[in-house]
Symmetry: C2
Subunit: 196 residues, 2 copies
C-alpha cells in the first residue's frame, strides 16, 4: 500500500530510525489508528503551528520573546551562549543555571562555509552592550569548531569589556578513566583540585 510505504520512508529518515524500526512504528500506529495514529498526526500539526523562534535568544517557544527571556526570576546579569537549542534544553534539564541564554545556531566552520555572519553574533553583541549583563559563559561544545567559535567570541567580548568564561573541563561524573581519551585525562590532571 503506497500510503504505508510513504509514511515508512519518511519515518526512516528521522535520526535513530531506519527502514526496519520505521516499519515497526508504522505497524504499531496502524493497529492503533484512533488512539495513537490520528492523535500523533494532530500533535505534530499543532507543534508546527505553535512554533515560534524567540527574537531575543533564539530558543523555540509558543511566543517571542520566549518564556525563559521574560521570566523575571532569572538572573539578568548572566548570559550563557550555546550552539544549538538542544544544548539550551540540556542545561535547563540539569536545572543548575538560572541566567539568560543566547543560541548561536551553529559554529564557525571553514569546511562548511559558516562564518561569523551566519551565526547570531550581531544580536549577541547588541544584547551584551545594551543590557545589564556582567558575564558571558561560552558553553559551546568541546569540539575543535566549538572551541574555535568560543575563542573568537571571547576575543570580541573582551574587546567590548565584557567578562567571558567557559565551562570546566575534566572527567565527567560517572566517567571511568579507562574509557577517557588522553585529552580529557591530561586536562583533568592539569586542572586538578584540592580535596579539602
Amino acid at each position: 500500500m503506497k500510503q504505508i510505504d510513504d509514511a515508512t520512508r519518511m519515518l526512516a529518515r528521522l535520526p535513530g530510525l531506519g527502514p526496519r524500526s520505521a516499519r515497526r512504528i508504522v505497524q504499531h500506529l496502524l493497529t492503533r489508528r484512533d488512539n495513537l495514529l490520528l492523535p500523533l498526526a494532530e500533535e505534530l500539526r499543532r507543534l508546527a503551528d505553535s512554533l515560534a523562534v524567540c527574537s531575543v535568544c533564539g530558543n523555540w517557544d509558543e511566543r517571542s520573546p520566549c518564556s525563559l527571556c521574560v521570566d523575571a526570576k532569572r538572573d539578568r546579569s548572566l548570559l550563557c551562549v550555546v550552539e544549538q537549542i538542544a544544548d539550551l534544553w540540556a542545561l535547563e534539564r540539569s536545572a543548575c543555571y538560572r541566567g539568560q541564554y543566547h543560541v548561536l545556531g551553529g559554529v564557525l566552520s571553514a569546511l562548511n562555509g559558516i562564518g561569523p555572519d551566519d551565526l547570531r553574533l550581531a544580536k549577541l553583541e547588541q544584547r551584551v552592550q545594551s543590557a545589564e549583563i556582567q558575564e558571558v559563559i561560552l558553553a559551546t561544545n568541546l569540539t575543535l569548531e566549538g572551541q574555535t567559535t568560543a575563542h573568537y567570541i571571547a576575543a570580541r567580548l573582551t574587546r567590548m569589556g565584557v567578562k567571558a568564561s567557559r565551562l570546566a573541563r575534566g572527567v565527567p561524573i560517572g566517567g571511568e578513566l579507562d574509557y577517557m581519551d588522553e585529552g580529557t585525562l591530561s586536562t583533568a590532571i592539569e586542572a586538578r583540585q584540592k580535596i579539602i
Copy 2:
C-alpha cells in the same frame, strides 16, 4: 514549551523509542518545520484516512478487498495463514510466496483470554469451504502459542478435508550453530536432508 513536551512524550511511546530518542527526533523535526515536520503530520493524517481492513484476508490496504486478494496473477489454490499483518508483509518482502493470505489477528492464548472466537477463524473456514483452495499453509510463529494455534486450526481443517501444512524448521540462513538454541538444533538434526 508544552507542545514540544507533549509531542516528545507521545513519540516516546512508539516501539523502539524512549524519552531520549524521542527528544532527538523532535529537535530534528523542529529544525525542519516546513520540509519534514508538516509533511510528516500530513502523511500520518493521510495514512489514517486511507486505511481500510480487507474484509477477505484482514490485510491493510486502501480498499477492501485488498490488492493482494483481487490480484488475478496470484495462486488461488494456496492459502497462507499468519498471525499478524506484519507477518504477511514479511512474507511479501521475501517474494517467495504467490498465493492468498489469511490474517488471524492473534493467537490462541489462555493467559490473555483469547479463544477461537477472537480470531478470524469463522471467516477462514468460510473461505476454505467456498473457494478453490487446495492447501492451507499454517505460518504462525514458532512460539508455544503460535504452534498451539496452528495445531488447533490444522485439526479443524483436516476434519473439513483440507490439506494443512506448516513452514520448514531448521537453522536459519546465516545462522551460527553456536548461537542456536537446543530446540532448533535437535529439529535440524532430526529433519536433516540429503545433500545430493
